[in-house]
């Protein structure tokens, strides 16, 4: 992941994309457009696939009265067969195929895209403020290293634990974050120390991971691990939705409540402290929230790059740096980007599907290229 020191939030010139005045209509327009993209992309996802159906069929499947009039059938789809039998939910055998496909395969994918989009955008926004670095992304503080390593270990040595892979990836990411924080800590910490510690842990973890790939005998394990690390929504199920949802809720609530704290952090440690902020506590809590959010996104969809980096960028350009507007914008722009990219990843080589991480990478690269060409002082030291 790109980490460019010095391209901090204060180096960005306002003007062009950025507006000095906070006009509420910009946020409103952003929300409207994003919701439109989410709906359109969502409908594409519901309709497209090996079992082809028209938009109309997809819509009918979505609002199928066989389900809506029997809430316990919906519950069965959500919690899975085993649990549903124990709860005594109605069986779903009589449902039309199109309804089953939409409800068991395609809708979870859309929902995971929404939740992961929010998680990555929030995680990126928070970490950009915490490290006061506009190039910060959700994986900055060790999540990618820890999860990547955990994934490699499971595929190479402990294939029996494969079913617990999401959880293990998340634990790996959080462990790496703890190590990063411990390395950065010396009677308190600072944005630069955190970023450097993240780089150190990342470098070491990546070499270990590469060494393991290199030594691996089983090339299919290698392939599976690569698929995970490139980030994909293929195979998203209700269990993934239910796994990410709590962490999405936590990070959205914490971030929105902490919007003012994030604003104050941008004034620098000394000023934040002089205004009475317990800076180490606030920084740790916010960073931990961001990392939990990113790690749970990795657990559900692998490492999808660039979303957490460019969404806060785009939204900040439209509504400005104060975090209330920024975070509200990210709440819809994150899902919009990820759903848009996922729809594209399905349509580009139809019927072949690309991992969505590749598409977001390409979009991210193009976005930064445009930004760099349009703004002379972009990334100025």
């Amino acid at each position: 992941m790109p980490i460019m020191q010095g391209a901090d939030l204060h180096g960005m010139q306002s003007g062009g994309l950025l507006s000095a005045h906070r006009s509420p209509w910009r946020l409103t327009a952003l929300i409207a457009v994003s919701l439109l993209v989410v709906c359109a992309g969502g409908m594409v996802q519901l309709g497209a696939g090996s079992y082809d159906m028209s938009w109309r069929q997809a819509w009918e499947a979505l609002v199928d009265p066989h389900l809506w009039e029997h809430p316990s059938r919906i519950l069965r789809l959500l919690v899975g067969e085993g649990m549903a039998d124990r709860l005594g939910c109605e069986r779903c055998d009589t449902l039309p195929t199109s309804t089953l496909i939409v409800w068991t395969v395609r809708m979870p994918r859309v929902l995971v895209a929404i939740l992961v989009g929010i998680n990555l955008a929030y995680s990126g926004s928070i970490l950009q403020a915490v490290t006061r670095n506009e190039m910060a992304d959700p994986y900055l503080l060790g999540v990618s290293s820890g999860s990547g390593l955990a994934i490699a270990v499971v595929f190479m040595f402990l294939p029996g634990l494969g079913v617990h892979l999401p959880l293990l990836a998340m634990v790996g990411g959080l462990t790496a974050f703890a190590v990063v924080y411990a390395i950065a800590w010396s009677r308190g910490t600072s944005p630069v120390r955190l970023v450097l510690a993240g780089v150190i842990v990342g470098a070491i973890a990546r070499s270990v991971e590469t060494a393991m790939h290199y030594l691996a005998q089983d090339s299919s394990a290698l392939r599976d691990a690569t698929a995970w690390t490139s980030g994909s929504l293929i195979g998203a199920r209700w269990e993934h939705v239910l796994m990410v949802l709590p962490w999405t809720s936590v990070s959205v609530i914490v971030a929105l409540c902490g919007a003012r704290y994030l604003d104050i952090l941008l004034l620098g440690d000394a000023t934040a402290k002089s205004l009475g902020m317990s800076i180490e506590r606030v920084r740790f809590l916010l960073a931990a929230t961001a990392v939990l959010s990113a790690a749970s996104a990795v657990a559900a969809a692998g490492m999808i790059g660039f979303v957490g980096l460019i969404v806060p960028h785009m939204v900040r350009g439209l509504v400005g740096s104060p975090h209330r507007g920024l975070l509200l914008g990210c709440l819809v722009a994150g899902p919009a980007l990820l759903i848009g990219a996922d729809a594209a990843s399905r349509l580009i080589l139809n019927p072949l599907q690309l991992p969505v991480g590749l598409v977001t990478g390409a979009i991210g690269g193009a976005f930064f290229l445009i930004l760099m060409r349009r703004k002379r002082d972009f990334g100025r030291l």
């Binding site: 939030l9 204060h10 000095a20 205004l275 317990s278």
Partner: protein, 278 residues
């Protein structure tokens, strides 16, 4: 709310303060004791590295002293929470940073931070304090301007407005005039005088300009190599002998008849003993 400060029970001072940035180096502040006069403007003067900024930061709890205590209103400042400290003292740093598109008004609103709890919206009282701070600093017309697009003098006034919105009794200003042109130097210093005379704020300032220090300071503290060499009224501290010790300069001092304040004309540097530059 910003109102005339009451001076009862106000105390600010440091006893036996020692501060060291690196354990192997000599202390930057060496066992110094200082009593800040309440309701006055105190100027800390001294050459670079004399410890004046360190003293200011230690008194305002930005740095913890290795030895000694700072007393704020009868309590050891180290035992207070960051918020408690922020409610009674505000600090202007030499260098400030803010996002480019942050407006002056948004910045000043951040001054209300210590008064607000997690879910508190900006109350009428907060709004009132912000408006008053903007008015006092003459920053009202700038309120919608992004902080990156105003002059450095206006920026300084905007940051002081943020401190005022904090409504502290004590104000600490670290070299507030250093990078400013003459008119803005006076804007800042007149504001300081107004805050002191009309609102009763106790103000501590580090300053390089001896003439501004003499004109706007009630109490001057001269530091040299981590020690307080002289403290008192301008005419007691600003003497050719003290300036020789503190700054190694030869100077002439006279009282300006119109303003009645002391002026210092530096003449030359005293050659260091042994002829080698310090």
């Amino acid at each position: 709310m910003i109102q005339k400060r009451l001076h009862a029970n106000r105390v600010l001072g440091g006893v036996d303060l020692t501060v060291r940035y690196r354990p192997e180096r000599p202390p930057v502040l060496d066992g110094q004791t200082i009593d800040v006069p309440i309701g006055r403007v105190t100027m800390l003067i001294g050459p670079n590295g004399s410890g004046k900024s360190t003293l200011l930061k230690t008194l305002s709890r930005q740095i913890a002293a290795e030895r000694g205590v700072v007393i704020l209103d009868g309590r050891d400042i180290a035992t207070l929470s960051a918020r408690e400290v922020a409610l009674s003292l505000g600090i202007l740093f030499q260098e400030n940073q803010a996002p480019h598109d942050l407006t002056v008004e948004e910045l000043v609103c951040h001054g209300r931070y210590p008064h607000r709890r997690l879910f508190d919206p900006l109350t009428a009282e907060d709004r009132f304090a912000v408006e008053q701070a903007l008015t006092l600093c003459g920053a009202g017309p700038l309120r919608d301007r992004p902080i990156s697009q105003i002059s450095s003098g206006q920026k300084q006034l905007a940051w002081i407005a943020m401190l005022l919105a904090q409504s502290p009794h004590y104000l600490f200003l670290d070299e507030p005039t250093t990078y400013l042109d003459l008119p803005h130097q006076f804007d800042v210093m007149n504001l300081v005088r107004h805050l002191n005379r009309e609102l009763g704020c106790t103000i501590v300032i580090t300053m390089h300009d001896l003439n501004l220090a003499a004109r706007f300071g009630d109490h001057i503290v001269a530091l040299h190599q981590g020690r307080i060499v002289a403290a008192g009224a301008p005419e007691e501290v600003l003497t050719t002998a003290t300036l020789r010790t503190v700054f190694d300069i030869e100077s002439r001092l006279f009282r300006d008849e119109q303003t009645g304040s002391l002026h210092c004309v530096p003449i030359n540097r005293i050659p260091a003993a042994g002829g080698r530059p310090r």
